[in-house]
Structure formats: C-alpha cells, structure tokens
C-alpha cells in the first residue's frame, strides 16, 4: 500500500471514530482518559525503552543537550504526563453547551450548541509529551486526533499512541480516535495538509518555518499558533519600579517561550530615569540589549539594533530596545514589527492604558502585567492546545471550547417559510 493510501485509510478510520465519539457523554470520555493515564503509568518502562532509541539516534546525530533533554522521557516524566491527562478529565466538557438560545417571533426554538470539530490534525516538533497532551484535549472535546510528531521522537510517539489505543480498546471511545500519521517523510505530513474533507482542522505547533509551510501547503483549515515577538512599552507615566519588574519578568522568567518579551519601548520623557536602571538590571540578569541610537547613548554594552532585531523572536537572553516620542509611535512599532501575540504597557495613566488597549491589535494586551501571563493555565482554562496568533476561530490561548464548533438546532411544529 502506498504511504498516501495508508494515510487515507488511517484518516478514514479517524473520521468514523469521530462520528462515534461526538455524541458520547462526558462520563464515557472521562473514563477513557483515566484508563489512558493508568495505562501510561503501567507501561512506563516500555515507553522509556522506546524513548531510549530516539535519544540514542539523537546523540548519533549530534543533537544539542538541550534538545535531548526535551526529548527524554523518564518514569517520573511519564507519571507527570499521566497526571496532566487526569487534570484534563477533571475539566468541564464543552460539548453540548448552549452558546445562545432564543424563541423566534414565529415560535421556532433556536439553539446554538457546541459540538466537536471532528478530526483534528496536530503537526508538532520536539517533546513527546505533546503527543499525550494533545490527544487528551482532543478526546475530552469529543474529537478524533491525527498526530504527526517530529521524526526525532517517532519511537516514543509510536509507543505512547500504542499505549493510548490499548487503553481506549477497553472503553467506549473508539481506539481509532487517536492515531499517528503513518511515515516520517516530509511527504507524509503533506498528506495530512491536503486531507480536506477528512480532517476538519490542522494545528501546527512549532517554529515559524513549520507554521509557514503548513499555512502555505494546507487545504485543511489551519489555526496558526505560537510565534511571539512580544513588546513591553514603558509609558511616560509609568511607575519606574513596576516597569523594571514587569520588563525583567517578561524577559527573563523563561526566555525560551513565546510569551517572553523580545522588545522594550520607552517613552522619551521617562528614558533618562528608566533606561539606565533597566540596562543595569538587564545586564545583571545576563541579557544582551540591542538598542537604537538613543538607547545606546545610555550604555556602552548595548549592541546596535538592526531591522532584524525589531522583528526577532529571540527566545534567548536578548532584547531589542528603542526610545519613542509618543504612545502612538510605540503602537506603530508594535503593529509593524510585532507578531500579534502579547504586548504590554506599563503606565499609571488611564487614558494611556485605554488608548494602548484600543490600538494594539494583538491576541492579548497587558496593562501593568508581565507578557508571561498569556497562557491557558494562567487564564484559568485548565490546559491549552496552543496559543493562536490568528484572528479566525480562536485568538490567544486555546482551551477546550476552542476545540469545538457549533451547530444550530431549530425546533418547530411544522413551521414553513412564507
């Protein structure tokens, strides 16, 4: 069988599983999730063994220690993954929620209710825990999932999916509701991207190049996630201590993630007070500042910023910095160079906060808070499948409701249109 035929067979089974799964009540889905959690713990030695194959291959290929750490599974990490599945089981079921309901003037009852999307495709890089997290969120929201992980984690992902399918086999949820896309070639990912009609949505999780290639190739609707070039704007009316705290937290609390700050902008009126203290604090924290001419006038260690710096998602201890003459200039910078993820203003001025919130067109706008708060857990969603930086369907952290669609149910008594 060709790889494409094999893919179509897998996707067809996923679509059938999705139809069976969609009407299941919460209790059936939660029981299946607990079975998965138990099975993962029981099979931990087997999963670790499969993971060792991936890790050995990664070492042969000279992968960095950091990436190997991300790839590695231990029994302890597997226990944490299982615990995360139990947490998903404990979340409310979004399916069946009435989003809006009314009785129309002609007596028709109109209800818009949440239903599963159907088959969700996930294309992701790196960590094998995503395999389980994504599957749990999809199952809980009544969706079948087709997983296409990194080839570097293929053995781990295969073992994890085998264990999950084994657990589902004894539950009301069909085992085909969780499947790996067959093969590890670039071509195999394309089958998923071109499976319009079989796959209802595709969520790429990874770097900008992965996301761009999915958007370019896919005929399946895509939800873009995760690229974050986030800015902190320190307004003329900022409290300087607050601004320093927010900037340092946003940049250094976890520099490798999408909601870390990559740029700071300072109003000229406060630059003399703020910039020297900020440069000192950032230096102490090991951060390299890439500044414009005005920022560079405050410190010798500041590297000259280029156009690339304004657009960069460093994901490292680097930050771009610029002095602006007005809030509107800060907004224009963010609209031009930002990625529409999260941007923050630090100010004590209510009109400034209001204007910044109104004009910055990003998934999340923070007022006197760190950009690091844009996160499904922090927002109280319990878990997230990713952070959408597009405007369609979902924007910002995506929890369980964002993994659903809706359906209109209209009930009459033989109503006819006149």
């Amino acid at each position: 069988m060709s790889e494409r035929d094999e893919f179509l067979r897998v996707a067809g089974r996923a679509a059938e599983a999705a139809a069976e799964l969609a009407p299941l009540p919460r209790a059936a889905k939660d029981a299946a999730l607990h079975r998965i959690a138990d099975a993962l713990v029981d099979a931990a030695p087997e999963i670790v063994k499969a993971n060792e194959t991936d890790v050995a291959r990664a070492r042969e290929n000279g992968i960095s220690d950091y990436m190997i750490d991300r790839l590695s599974l231990t029994e302890q990490r597997i226990a944490a993954i299982a615990e995360a599945v139990r947490k998903v089981a404990a979340l409310p079921d979004p399916v069946g929620e009435t989003v809006r309901g009314t009785v129309l003037p002609n007596g028709l009852e109109l209800r818009q209710v949440r239903v599963p999307l159907g088959v969700v495709g996930i294309i992701y890089e790196g960590r094998p825990n995503v395999t389980v997290d994504a599957a749990a969120l999809c199952l809980k929201s009544g969706n079948a999932v087709l997983l296409r992980g990194s080839s570097s984690a293929y053995d781990s992902n295969t073992a994890l999916v085998r264990v999950m399918q084994g657990a589902l086999a004894g539950s009301e949820v069909p085992a085909d509701a969780v499947q790996l896309v067959p093969g590890t070639s670039r071509e195999s990912a394309k089958h998923l991207m071109r499976a319009r009609g079989l796959v209802d949505v595709l969520i790429p999780r990874g770097g900008a190049s992965l996301i761009n290639s999915v958007v370019e190739e896919s005929t399946v609707p895509v939800i873009e996630t995760g690229v974050g070039n986030c800015a902190v704007y320190v307004d003329a009316d900022a409290d300087v201590d607050t601004a320093l705290d927010v900037l340092l937290n946003a940049k250094t609390q976890r520099p490798s993630v999408c909601n870390a700050a990559e740029t700071f902008l300072v109003h000229a009126d406060i630059a003399d007070t703020f910039v020297p203290r900020a440069l000192a604090a950032l230096k102490d924290a090991g951060v390299t500042v890439h500044g414009d001419e005005r920022i560079r006038s405050y410190g010798e260690d500041v590297v000259e910023a280029t156009e690339e710096d304004w657009n960069a998602e460093y994901l490292s201890l680097d930050i771009a910095a610029r002095v602006v003459d007005s809030l509107d200039e800060a907004v224009a910078h963010i609209r031009r160079h930002g990625s529409g993820h999260t941007d923050a203003i630090v100010t004590t001025s209510q009109p400034a906060a209001k204007r910044f919130v109104a004009l910055v067109d990003s998934a999340a706008v923070m007022v006197n808070a760190s950009t690091r708060f844009t996160d499904g857990e922090e927002f109280g969603f319990g878990a997230e499948i990713g952070i959408s930086t597009q405007k369609l369907h979902a924007r910002g952290p995506m929890g369980l409701p964002e993994l659903t669609s809706t359906k209109y149910v209209v009930t009459g008594e033989g109503h006819l249109r006149g």
Copy 2:
C-alpha cells in the same frame, strides 16, 4: 504599475484604513452608513447608467434572461439596497462586547472583548447588491473590505464603490475602508488569495467551483459559504400532513437558494402512506423526483436516481428521494452525501428527534421545520454575510459578530509570573 503592485497598494491602504476604523465608536460608523445610503439614492441615475453597460455586454455575450435580471439595477432596486444599509446601521455594534470576563485568583482582571477582524476580502459572483451589502456589514463591524465581484458586473461595482467612497470622504470612516480589487483577470483574484498578512479573512460567495478554487489557492484564512445539499428525513413517526408541508416548502418555496431541499429520505414504515401523496404533491408543484428503486415503485414519473443525484445541489425543481430502513440509515446517507448545510427531520418521536440532532453533523438541524429557515434574517441576526458550511470560526448564518475576532485585555498592578 503591475497589477500585483497596484493590488498591494490597494491592500496596504485597506490595512491602514482598518487600523483607523477599528477603534471608532458606533455613532461614527452608523453616520457613515447613513451617508452611504443617502449617496446611493442620490447617485441612482449614474449607477443605473453604469449598470446598463454591464447589461448590454451581458446581452452581447448571450447571457440568460434570468442572469440578466440578477445583474440589472433600477432606481427602485437601488432604493432597496440603500434601505438595507440603513437596516445594518440600526443593528447593534458587535465591537467592544465583552465575551467573557473574570478576576483571576491572583487579582489579574481578564476580559475577552470583540474586535474587528481587520481587512475582509469578499470574492463573489453575480448580483451587484452584494457589493453594498458586504461593504455595509464589514464597515458596521469595524472592518475594511476588499471587494472582488464578477467581471460581468464590473462597471456597476465600480460605480457603487465610487459612490460609497464619496460618501465616506465626508465621514469619520476612511474612504479606503471600501475598495475594489483592481482588474478583472483571474490573476487579480489570486493576488487577493495570496495576500496573507495584509488580508485577515477571505469569504468566497458563489458556486462550488469558485469556493473550491479559493480554498485551494488561498493562503489567507477562508470561510467557506453556501453550498447546500439539504435533506428532509420523514421518520416512521412523522405526522404525514406536517411532513408533506415541510417537504413542499423546503423544495419549492425558493428552489434556487442554498437552503432549499435537494433530497428526501422516507422511513420504510411510513413509505406506503407518505410516498404516493408526496409524489402527487411534488408533481403538482412541477418537481421532478429522482428516486431509488423503492421510490420508483410508487410512481411512473419518478426518474432513476444515480450516485450523482445523491450528491447534487440542483437549485432547481428536482429532488432526489430514497426509502431507508432506519433513522440511522438516513443519518448515514446525510453524512455521506450532504454538504453539512441544513438537514431536517419530521417526527413526533422525541427520541428520534434527539438522535437525529445528535448524529447529523450539519450547520443547522431542523426538527419539524423547513430547511428554508437557515438564514440570518430568519434567525434574527438582522442581516448575513453568508452561510458558513465549515466548522472553524463560524458555522451556519454569519451575522455581524461572525465578522469579528476577540482580544484578551489583562489588567494588573505590576503582576509578575512566579
């Protein structure tokens, strides 16, 4: 300037206009819409003249009288179009609505608020009234719009957009918020489809081939609209008179539209009672029935149905028909052949209605009501930009809220992530 450069210039101006338009209060947008309505009425003779050029060209090209009627504008029709704009002005503004809001345990205030999408592209066929309807809905929801109508209506659309821009020039809404895509070539539509980053969403309105080509070519997120292969299922427990009324209304009240019925399915237990009466009534109404063997056993006039009939969106006085042995067989038929638009069950059985609603995966499911009710006006939305048959972002009739995205606004007092 090349057509592509010209397009990029137009789209760039639209993006700037969108940024200016987004924060405007409702009053400013409503005033602009009333100016547009007044200007359309004032310029009616000029618009009719431009339309005559399109109509003359259509006649030369041997276009059918039906299509020429759809294309034609009279002063009376222009007055009706202007009136529709005033109706849009009277609708509530979706922008700024708080969709969800809470105070997080750490004291952060979290609000999810509706914001405009930005720049909306519309690719449409046929009637020039869509030019004004779409522009009005986009402006009201704070979006700039790029319109790409049929080349057959180019002169009419050019005149309509010129009049709308003239009206906007005296308002707070920038005139560039409504623009035509330059050119009439196939290539010019492609510029719009490839304008990811400049255009936030693309809505194709037209036949299946237009929609497929947009989905295939577009890197801009697309909302699919409108293809309707709708079914009426007459359950074993149907009231026969109700079933006849619903079927006739769904098929014949307006056969050329997407929410008209194209198939009926009858439970075997009620076929002897229902089918003969249905065939007689449909014949009286001028409807040709394309039936399976069991339907054909009830009437000589029934044409043999092929696989194509089950999949057909006739948009004419034709209907496919089949006898099924169970509700589940009806559901399987609909899942396999339907377009996910609207499907109806006629039944007095509560369990049957519940099961049909749960298992049919369509934008709208009707219980004892005509499929013709799936419509923004009928649902009480005041107006619609189209009917989405996809599951992402919007499903079913799309009103003003469906032309918005959301933004999270998070307000703290120097909150840091620990």
